[in-house]
Structure formats: structure tokens, C-alpha cells
């Protein structure tokens, strides 16, 4: 295996991780729905609160620029920039571990919320080392295509395996999938549940009883979301049609009751249906 193949593999790994890290940071900064969500992430905690989001956005743009520079040019500037970036990252992570052992590195946005450990620091060191290789052997994106071989694939695979071993985010991701919050604790979009209701058999069978297109009221209790429509009973009396939609599954369980307006607590006409369970 020659040096150019190794450098090309290093380039591929660097570009992939820079783009992945930049995108994840940008996504986290953009969906900071819970104010203060960034306060547990990355070097942002070392700067004043109002600078945290700009720092994260600046960092992600910096990574994108470095990745583009590595792919499209052979200029030494992005190469030395990459070495500087990961060297500074190593120092910052070390400092973060010393000063704020409770916060995550934020390397991949909110996926990196586990406290900074030696593995995260080791990964930054390895990436700085890959940057040195790419700086010494100035390969670019064009070499990725021209140098393609099984040796290159093997080198990339070995490098990726080393980086995966050094990535605590993988275990965190697996844990998140395995121990996903139960539906009682998960926020679920109302519009998605409404569209599932409208594709259910219960909706079609009770649609003609509704006198309004939009629900009068909607609320959620544990894993059920309720929609109340004004309507009428089969005999023509004013009524409220209540749909209860289970929050799990593409074809969730839907229950429905038609309650005369005057007797909300004592439904005179009530039909309960159950579609395919989710």
C-alpha cells in the first residue's frame, strides 16, 4: 500500500467527518427548540450564553469550508487549517474535560451529549494526525476517483473502524434506539396524528356526521390524542363527535364516540370502533 493511497483514505475520512460534524452542529443550532439546549454542549459552554449559538454555527461553517478546500484544491491552506482545527479541538476538549466534566463535546451536535472522555480527545488527536498526512501528501478529491482500489477501500475501512472505536456517540445512538422514550413521554406532532385520523376507517364512517371541517378542540392524554368536531347524531340532534387516536403506528387504533351536546357526560349514542392496532 503506497503513501498516496493512505493519504487519499485519510482525506476521505477527514472530509466525511468534517461534513458530518458541520451538518450535525448546524442542525442542533437550528433546532434549539428548548432554550438552553446548547448549554450542555461543546466548547460553547466556555463562552458567554449569547455567543453559544453563533459559535456553533461558525464552527459548522468552518468545517464545511475546510472540507470543500480539501476536496476541490491542493492548496496547503485548508490542509494546515485542518491540522490547526483538530489541534485546537484537542486542546479545547482537554480544557472542557477539566473545567466542565458534566457537558458533552458537541462534536456531532446533540448526538455528542455524553461527557467528554479520553476517547473523544483521542479521536481529535487521530484526526489531527490524518490532517498531517494529508498536508504532507497533498491529495485532493480528484485522487479519490483516480486512486480508487480495493486497497483504498480497506484503508478507509480500517480508519473508519478506529474512529468508530473512539466515538462514544455510537454507543449513545444505540442506547437511544434501544431505550427510546415511551410514547407517553414523546412529543408527537398534532398534524401527523390528524392526517392518520383522516385516513382511518372510523373517520370515513363518521365523516357524514361532522358539520365542521376543523376540530373544535384537541388535546393529548398519555398515548391518546383527542379531536372534537361539532356534528349531529343520526337523528339530527346537535352533537359532538370525539375521535381518540393512539399515537403509535402508521395505522393506529382509533376510537370514536358521538355525544349529544346537552349530555356530554352521558353519551346517548355512542359507537366505538377499533382499527388495526399500531
Amino acid at each position: 500500500m503506497d503513501v498516496v493511497t493512505l493519504a487519499t483514505a485519510a482525506l476521505a475520512l477527514l472530509v466525511f467527518l468534517l461534513l458530518l460534524g458541520g451538518t450535525a452542529k448546524l442542525a442542533t443550532a437550528g433546532t434549539d427548540s428548548e432554550p438552553g439546549g446548547l448549554s450542555r454542549l461543546g466548547p460553547g459552554v466556555l463562552v458567554p450564553e449569547r455567543w453559544r449559538k453563533p459559535v456553533m454555527i461558525f464552527c459548522s461553517f468552518g468545517e464545511a469550508v475546510l472540507a470543500a478546500g480539501l476536496v476541490f484544491t491542493s492548496n496547503p491552506l485548508p490542509r494546515w487549517g485542518t491540522i490547526a482545527f483538530f489541534s485546537v479541538a484537542t486542546y479545547v476538549l482537554w480544557e472542557l474535560r477539566r473545567r466542565r466534566p458534566d457537558v458533552g463535546c458537541g462534536c456531532f451536535g446533540e448526538a455528542s451529549s455524553a461527557p467528554v472522555g479520553l476517547r473523544s480527545i483521542g479521536r481529535a488527536v487521530v484526526l489531527a494526525g490524518l490532517g498531517v498526512v494529508v498536508a504532507i501528501v497533498p491529495v485532493s478529491g480528484a485522487d479519490l476517483l483516480s486512486e480508487f482500489s480495493w486497497e483504498l477501500v480497506a484503508a478507509v475501512a480500517v480508519g473508519a473502524a478506529v474512529l468508530m472505536v473512539l466515538s462514544p456517540e455510537l454507543e449513545e445512538g444505540i442506547a437511544r434506539v434501544r431505550y427510546r422514550a415511551p410514547c407517553e413521554q414523546r412529543p408527537v406532532s398534532t398534524s401527523r396524528i390528524l392526517s392518520r385520523l383522516r385516513s382511518s376507517a372510523e373517520w370515513r364512517s363518521h365523516n357524514e356526521l361532522l358539520t365542521a371541517a376543523e376540530p373544535e378542540d384537541t388535546w393529548r392524554e398519555l398515548c391518546w390524542r383527542f379531536f372534537v368536531y361539532s356534528g349531529r347524531t343520526a337523528s339530527g340532534a346537535r352533537a359532538e363527535v370525539v375521535f381518540a387516536v393512539y399515537l403509535i403506528g402508521r395505522r393506529p387504533a382509533v376510537r370514536v364516540a358521538v355525544v349529544e351536546t346537552e349530555t356530554a357526560g352521558d353519551p346517548l349514542v355512542k359507537s366505538i370502533g377499533l382499527s388495526a392496532t399500531g
Partner: protein, 313 residues
């Protein structure tokens, strides 16, 4: 459509009983919460005008105690003050009285000084607005020792008195959380699924209507409750709605009740503290009760919390 119909409509859809469930019958004598303005008081009798404008006469028990900024005798409460009473015998015998008591819970916005007293402006949540509180010089030591970070952005919770429209903080209601109000720790992963009853701390707030029975619950969907700060808690609470019936059990007193959720407890959800009223509760404020509901469940307003278990009623 009022939220009070939600329980009945949900019951109709899910086929459950339309009558709200009651907590299991207790052997302990029932407590009643009475609020109102004192019209007359003597060592043995108190006459209050309740929020509906009805006069209520209560016998003051020989063992009764009262609080108004400090422990006082029941007859030490002045005529005209707002009073909350814990009563037995169907609300006829007063055994604990709290005069002009108030509680200020919120996020510190700004601090100021008025001679030797400290003044704090608090954000009490999107639906409760801001409140100003004065910490008298004499109480500042005990407030500061439990609130070391008297700085904007940190949480504040104190119990005091409201006199002539001015709120005075007298006692810290909790140890101030060390984090900023916007940095609430995430709940632990629910490895075993959601428990039907969740343990934590129950607190009270005076941000309810006078004499109202109800609870404020932190875990509401933001779109449903119209509260942009809802849905935050460091305890793994399930989502419920305004109008849901909430089972609340006082672990310390062995009392329980089923109380409607009437408001969003967005500020309470930001406190990740413990109640040490009887043993140490798990972290997190799981419910904020109106003074009447809190008193009916056996809570002491001055202590500020009790160890509680909550679940869907």
C-alpha cells in the same frame, strides 16, 4: 368549548366511566381548605367571607396554630387579612391558619435595593407575568443561604406575606437549583417504560383563583396549553392535558385525591429539587397545587412541599 368537558368526552371515546374517579377511601378524617377574608376573630371563633361572598363561621380548635410572617396565636391575625385555613369536621373546626401568606416562584429578572432591603423582579411564567418581591433585611440572611445565586437567569422560590399589595419574602421555599432556569437537566431514560404513579415533590402556588381546587402540571403539549414553556421537567412525566384528572397522593400524610389540571406548571417543571418533608423525595416538581388542594391533602403552606405520587386519575 370549555376544557371541563374534556374528561367527559375522553371518557365517552375510550369507554371509561364518565364520573371522575375518587381516591381510595381514607380512614383518616377528611380535611377541608377554606380561604377568605377575616371579618371577625376571637380566641375561639373565626368568621371569614369566602370568595363567593358567603360568611363562614369556624370554631378555632384549642390546639390551633397560625402563621403570618412568623408563628402567632390564631387571635393574632388581624381583621381584614386574607386567610387560608385547614379545617376538620366538614370545615367547621379550624386547626391551622395562614394569614396573608403568599409564595413567589419564578426566574430572577433583575435585582435592586431599597434602603437596606433587597427587591427582586421575577418572571413567574408566560401566563402569570412578572412579580416584584421585597426581601426585608432581617430575612435576607436565611433567603441568601438557600439562594446563593441571586442573579438574573436563576430560579427563586420563597414564601412570605402580601401586605398592602407588597410581597415580602420571609422564608426560602427550597434550596435554589444550581443551574440557570433555561438549563433544566434532561429526565433519566425510561428503561422500564412509564410508571403509572410517579414520585417527586408537590408544591403549592397562589397563582390560582381564590378558593380554586386544581393543579398546575408541567408536562403539557405546548400547542394545546398555549404555554411556550410547557413540556419541561427533569422527571420522566407523561403528557397530560388541561382538563385531565390527576391523582395526587401525599406520601407523608397518607392522603390522596383526584384533582383537575387547570393550568400549566411551566415554572414548577424547571425546578429539579427534592422535598425532604418526610424522607427524601426523588428529584423534580411533579405538580403545583392550589392552596386549597394542597391544604386538603394535608400539606403545610409554610413548609412549601410534600413528598408526592401522581398519575392519571
Amino acid at each position: 368549548m370549555g376544557v371541563e368537558r374534556r374528561y367527559a368526552l375522553a371518557s365517552a371515546a375510550l369507554g371509561r366511566s364518565a364520573v371522575p374517579p375518587q381516591a381510595e377511601e381514607e380512614e383518616r378524617p377528611e380535611l377541608t381548605g377554606v380561604t377568605g377574608e377575616i371579618l371577625d376573630i376571637s380566641p375561639h371563633l373565626i368568621i371569614v367571607e369566602n370568595p363567593e361572598g358567603v360568611e363562614e363561621r369556624l370554631v378555632i380548635a384549642p390546639w390551633a396554630t397560625a402563621w403570618r410572617g412568623q408563628q402567632v396565636g390564631p387571635s393574632g391575625l388581624p381583621i381584614g387579612s386574607r386567610v387560608t385555613i385547614r379545617a376538620r369536621q366538614s370545615g367547621r373546626v379550624a386547626e391551622r391558619l395562614w394569614g396573608d401568606i403568599t409564595r413567589v416562584t419564578g426566574v430572577i429578572l433583575s435585582l435592586g435595593r431599597e434602603r437596606r432591603d433587597l427587591t427582586i423582579e421575577l418572571d413567574c411564567g408566560p401566563h402569570r407575568g412578572t412579580r416584584s418581591v421585597v426581601i426585608p433585611y432581617g430575612a435576607s440572611g436565611r433567603i441568601r443561604v438557600r439562594h446563593p445565586q441571586l442573579q438574573p437567569g436563576y430560579l427563586f422560590d420563597a414564601i412570605g406575606t402580601r401586605l398592602d399589595g407588597v410581597t415580602f419574602a420571609q422564608l426560602p421555599a427550597t434550596s435554589q437549583p444550581a443551574y440557570r432556569a433555561r438549563s433544566v437537566p434532561p429526565p433519566p431514560p425510561a428503561y422500564g417504560g412509564v410508571q403509572s404513579r410517579i414520585s417527586g415533590a408537590a408544591v403549592w402556588s397562589d397563582a390560582f383563583d381564590d378558593g380554586e381546587t386544581g393543579a398546575a402540571y408541567p408536562m403539557l403539549e405546548r400547542a394545546d396549553s398555549g404555554c411556550d414553556d410547557a413540556g419541561v421537567s427533569c422527571t420522566g412525566l407523561p403528557y397530560l392535558a388541561i382538563g385531565s384528572m390527576l391523582y395526587v397522593g401525599n406520601v407523608c400524610e397518607g392522603r390522596a385525591g383526584v384533582i383537575p389540571i387547570v393550568a400549566c406548571g411551566c415554572v414548577a417543571g424547571r425546578f429539579c429539587d427534592r422535598c425532604v418533608e418526610c424522607g427524601t423525595s426523588p428529584r423534580g416538581r411533579i405538580v403545583e397545587l392550589s392552596p386549597v388542594s394542597y391544604v386538603q391533602l394535608g400539606g403545610d403552606l409554610v413548609k412549601g412541599c410534600f413528598n408526592a405520587r401522581v398519575g392519571l386519575g
